[in-house]
């Protein structure tokens, strides 16, 4: 390597900037869909973007903060019922209802954090599930929220059938792209750096001054709010809210499969995972519960043999990334040319 005249730390390469532009163009064309696409396609995309948002949130928790939650359905359900509460019962505009729900869930998550953070590792995971069950049981026992039979969202009827789908679709786009954007933003920030340190070694990170606990709680709150918003949008599409479905652990099953198969610990992974998940579902639609068995088996095999998921397999061959979240060192040589310094791989000798 030729002697360097100076060094710079960058986060985005040209490739990343190109990817960002492509993303914006994609967003623009997708946003125009309601004027030329059919309701079926929009529904599928709503599902795609809300699942993607949920997956990104779970990935933030597990892939970056090392917190495995099997109870995010608590916040999905709260998002659904919050929407019902603010839009149907209190007559707010659906957008205002979503905002209010998000705020409310933030506060609730702050309260639940006091409980779950007394646990660690696998016990933390089951603790999050208990929290979800508590909410499920409370709602299922509450007459004004429809008890066990559930409720139907009626306040969206004011927009007409097409208007409702379009509104939900745009919200889904916002939620999906937003989750990816927020995820990338966090990872580029100091919080992201702290999280990566925590993921590698909590003790080491703490000794460097990282407030490990606050970082984890921050991610927990962000993920809770993100899941709640995604939950609200999901049920704007589904319209019928039942406690067992809204607070069901099946949500966690879907999210986990998406992230594990797509790739934990990267922002690109959940995108691939959501595509694979929905693709597999279409493919195996006629086989009932065999579909879930296949999903479970693929997840197990992925955990055992390809721990970084499909994206990990891809990047092992071709080291690409779509989002500039890592810090890279660039050296300016004597001739003024900038040379990237490849990162030292810590996995080479294991």
């Amino acid at each position: 390597m030729t002697a360097a005249r100076g060094y710079r730390v960058i986060q985005s390469t040209t490739a990343h900037r190109v990817a960002a532009v492509v993303g914006l163009v994609l967003l623009g064309s997708l946003a125009s869909l309601p004027s030329w696409g059919d309701a079926g396609t929009m529904r599928l995309l709503i599902e795609f973007f809300t699942l993607l948002a949920l997956a990104q949130m779970w990935n933030l928790l597990a892939g970056y903060a090392g917190l495995v939650s099997i109870g995010q359905q608590a916040f999905i359900g709260l998002g659904a019922y919050g929407l019902y509460l603010f839009a149907d019962l209190l007559d707010l505009h659906p957008l205002a209802a979503v905002v209010m729900t998000a705020a409310g869930v933030g506060l609730i998550a702050l309260a639940t954090s006091f409980f779950v953070f007394r646990l660690e590792g696998g016990y933390f995971a089951v603790g999050t599930w208990v929290i979800a069950e508590v909410f499920r049981l409370i709602v299922a026992g509450n007459r004004s929220l429809g008890a066990g039979t559930g409720v139907s969202l009626r306040s969206l009827a004011q927009f007409g059938a097409q208007g409702r789908i379009a509104l939900t679709y745009w919200l889904a786009l916002a939620v999906g792209f937003g989750a990816v954007f927020v995820g990338a933003l966090i990872m580029r920030s100091r919080l992201g750096l702290s999280l990566r340190g925590i993921r590698d070694s909590e003790v080491a990170a703490g000794s460097l001054g990282v407030d490990v606990f606050r970082a984890k709680v921050a991610v927990y709150l962000i993920a809770a709010v993100g899941c709640a918003i995604a939950g609200s949008v999901t049920y704007m599409n589904l319209l019928r809210i039942q406690p067992n479905a809204a607070f069901g652990v099946e949500w966690t099953a879907r999210i986990i499969f998406i992230v594990v198969i797509g790739g934990l610990g990267s922002i690109e992974g959940p995108i691939i995972g959501t595509l694979v998940f929905l693709g597999l579902r279409e493919l195996l639609a006629d086989y009932g519960s065999a579909y879930l068995v296949v999903l479970g088996s693929v997840a197990i095999l992925t955990v055992l043999f390809a721990p970084r998921g499909l994206w990990g397999l891809l990047t092992a061959r071709w080291p690409i990334s779509l989002f500039g979240v890592r810090h890279r060192l660039v050296a300016r040589t004597m001739t003024g040319v900038e040379e990237p310094i490849p990162p030292v791989s810590t996995e080479s000798t294991r």
Partner: protein, 291 residues
Amino acid sequence: MEWLNAVVQGVLLGGLYALLATGLSLVFGVMRLVNLAQGDLSILAAYLALAIVQATGINPFLAIPIVVPVMMIAGYGLQRLALNRTVEQGPLPSLLLTFGLAVIIQNVLLDVFTADSRGLDAGPIENASIHLTDEISIGVLSLLTLLVAVAVLGGLSWMLANTQLGRALRATSDDHGAARIVGIDNRHLYGVATAIALGTVAIAGIFLGIRTTFGPSDGPTQLISAFEAVIIGGLGSLWGTLAGGIVLGVAQALGNQISPTFQLLAGHLVFLAILLFRPRGLFARVGARQS
């Protein structure tokens, strides 16, 4: 008086929870691994017993000596073939793997046995009861469950305290690197721990099946109950787990007295209260740690 009866029922129910929780506790102690498929494995045992009973017509209790060894062998295999790869890698891989396993078990059971509720018929013992007073009676089956739980816990405790295997399990739980130095083959020992866990879980599942009806998706509820019993009782103590199971059982029974739909929620609320005010559990062993 009904309340006293409820407490008694709760104590007896605690035995069942303790049986479920023991497996969870042992596996976590030795390997720092939480098996999310634990509950589904107990339901699987109940279905295996059902299949045997349907094929041969024997009493479900007699199916226990058949199902338990099968489950123990399955547990050893599961640990050595799949879970051992995840043991020293932090909590994430084992949680993901056992979660996947739970989903697979639930859906295979659904496919094979349909979603219908099933029960294991053990004959008149299911309704027999001992009347202590006019208002307090003890179900013979419930009492038997508690006694079996105490016997299993007692046996396990004795084994851990007095045998070379027990010492090896405790040592591996302390320091698996130093355990290797002494000549302990960790991979084999982890397999043994899971085998024991699945054995106790199988007994619990069969008793559960006799006591009440069960379906393919009942696993998660059992997992949560087991987990709550462990946390309430405190990590690192088998008898603490029994106490935790009893506290949970009593909480649920009292909740049931208030309203049948309140039963589960009552248990969760007591669990959360303990988590908030005595996070180490009621009987935590000094030195026991979560990670």
